[in-house]
């Protein structure tokens, strides 16, 4: 087991607005990760949609400060630049580094704004320059919006996922084919031997292990990756190597 290093690209923790069985502390999340053999995780705040970017970014920073393991990195949420709710890109990225934040996300549909160049062009361009990954979890199931967004920001390193269980190849493959910085998190890619198919066609470097905790179990996609019949080096990249490299390359 320990020959594989798993880095969870899609994971949320904290206290959900409506309650539920979610890791509310780093200790609880790490215990869950240890149960399945997950080494590291990129963590979003589970209550990001309801609490908003300003508050949830602060709460997530506090969450990470109480983690002494060093195995967790955070994801901060951005907002339209015109309302000055968050600092400009340079200061924002500096704060990210100081708070162990490795990537950004956005939640335009819950936070009532339009995801486009006019609203977030400056920070997205700055993120592209600095190779800072952008999680597109808010676009899950919104394929039209996802296509538009990736077309608008093709230089950004983006991570997206599906949650439908309904094999998404017809929707997903055109994005992998046309946008080289687009990455797919396999958390709900339940397609038979589908990980191997995607890796052989688009390259293992385009795929990332992610649990989509707390929606799914951390263990759900570990066995199909391990038994994907891909070369061991490709499995290792998808399990954690790709994400680790992308985060190391980010210039915060």
């Amino acid at each position: 087991m320990r020959e594989l290093f798993f880095y969870d690209a899609m994971c949320a923790a904290g206290m959900p607005l409506h309650g539920g069985n979610v890791a509310a502390t780093p200790e609880a999340l790490l215990a869950e990760m240890d149960y399945y053999g997950i080494d590291r995780a990129l963590v979003r705040h589970v209550n990001l949609d309801a609490a908003g970017a300003v508050l949830s970014n602060r709460v997530l920073a506090d969450f990470l400060r109480s983690d002494s393991s060093g195995r967790l990195r955070g994801v901060w949420c951005i907002l339209p630049e015109q309302c000055d709710e968050l600092p400009g890109p340079d200061e924002f990225f500096r704060d990210m580094k100081q708070n162990r934040i490795g990537a950004i996300t956005l939640s335009p549909f819950a936070h009532r704004w339009i995801p486009c160049r006019e609203t977030i062009g400056k920070i997205m361009d700055a993120a592209a320059e600095r190779h800072i990954p952008v999680l597109l979890d808010a676009f899950t199931g919104k394929w039209n919006e996802l296509y538009n967004f990736v077309r608008m920001f093709p230089r950004n390193i983006t991570f997206a996922m599906d949650r439908s269980k309904h094999g998404p190849d017809r929707l997903l493959r055109p994005l992998l084919e046309n946008f080289e910085n687009f990455h797919y998190v396999i958390s709900c890619h339940w397609v038979p031997e589908g990980i191997r198919d995607l890796a052989e066609r688009y390259g293992a470097h385009r795929l990332l292990y992610g649990s989509d905790y707390p929606f799914f179990s951390h263990g759900s996609m570990m066995l199909p990756l391990k038994q994907s019949a891909l070369p061991e080096a490709d499995i290792a990249r998808i399990a954690g190597g790709n994400l680790n490299q992308l985060l190391e390359e980010a210039q915060l």
Binding site: F216, G219, M222, L223, Q227
Partner: protein, 270 residues
Amino acid sequence: MSIWEEHPLARAFWNNGSAGIPIYDMHGHMGTLNTIYFARAEAAAMVAHLKRIGVKHLTFSHHYALFEPSFRNSRVHEICREFPDILRMYVAINPHYPDHIREDLAQFDAWAPFAVGLKLLPDYHATPACDPKYEYALAFAEERRLPVLCHTWGHSQNNGFPQLMKIVVKYPHITFFIAHCLFGDWEGAARLVHESPGNVYLELTAVPGERDVLENLTAAVGSERLIFGTDLPWFDEYQAVGGVLSAKITENDMRNIFYANVERILGKEW
């Protein structure tokens, strides 16, 4: 240590790809479908996938037999004959073609040992599971004590709790496999088990991997009432098996789900 190192079944699947146990996948399909791309929807590719992980039998209803009335169950029987060691079939029941139902069920015995039971798809056929259009098929299954795999979904108007409750009580000698466990209506699923005359099993397609659901179902009805399924070619066998192994239930529960319950219902050789 993680589950993949500590638990014997999980360790075997992790290290070897199979664990030397039979797996009965009691919910499969075959063939292309309108809304989804399948890379492996034909028998040979599916069988190769099944054999990697050690599935002993896949019992399936062909998509074409469910969605294209001109494609008859006799053709599914021919497919099973090409892979006699592993494929078993449900006779697909389309309630809008009563003549087809009668003709196909008249051949049921001739399709032994491949034909195991019947498959109902009420939502997709826009006909409630308790509709009289199913009576002939269900009476046939009742008389022969056959399994019937019925598609279900929580709060559906065609195959939700009320419709299923009517037929599981009306046909006590049918073994009902409740496909997808009334997904989302977990309380209804438990009620079906507890309020039926002992003839209900919850079939797990789309459940393994969901956090806490399998644990809660096991606590609510007991693992003796759960059976394994994947919807193959929809879902990967390793995902579904991995989802069961990832649940915080006992190894005995997992063995019940993978094979022991089905062997209690159908025997070891079928």
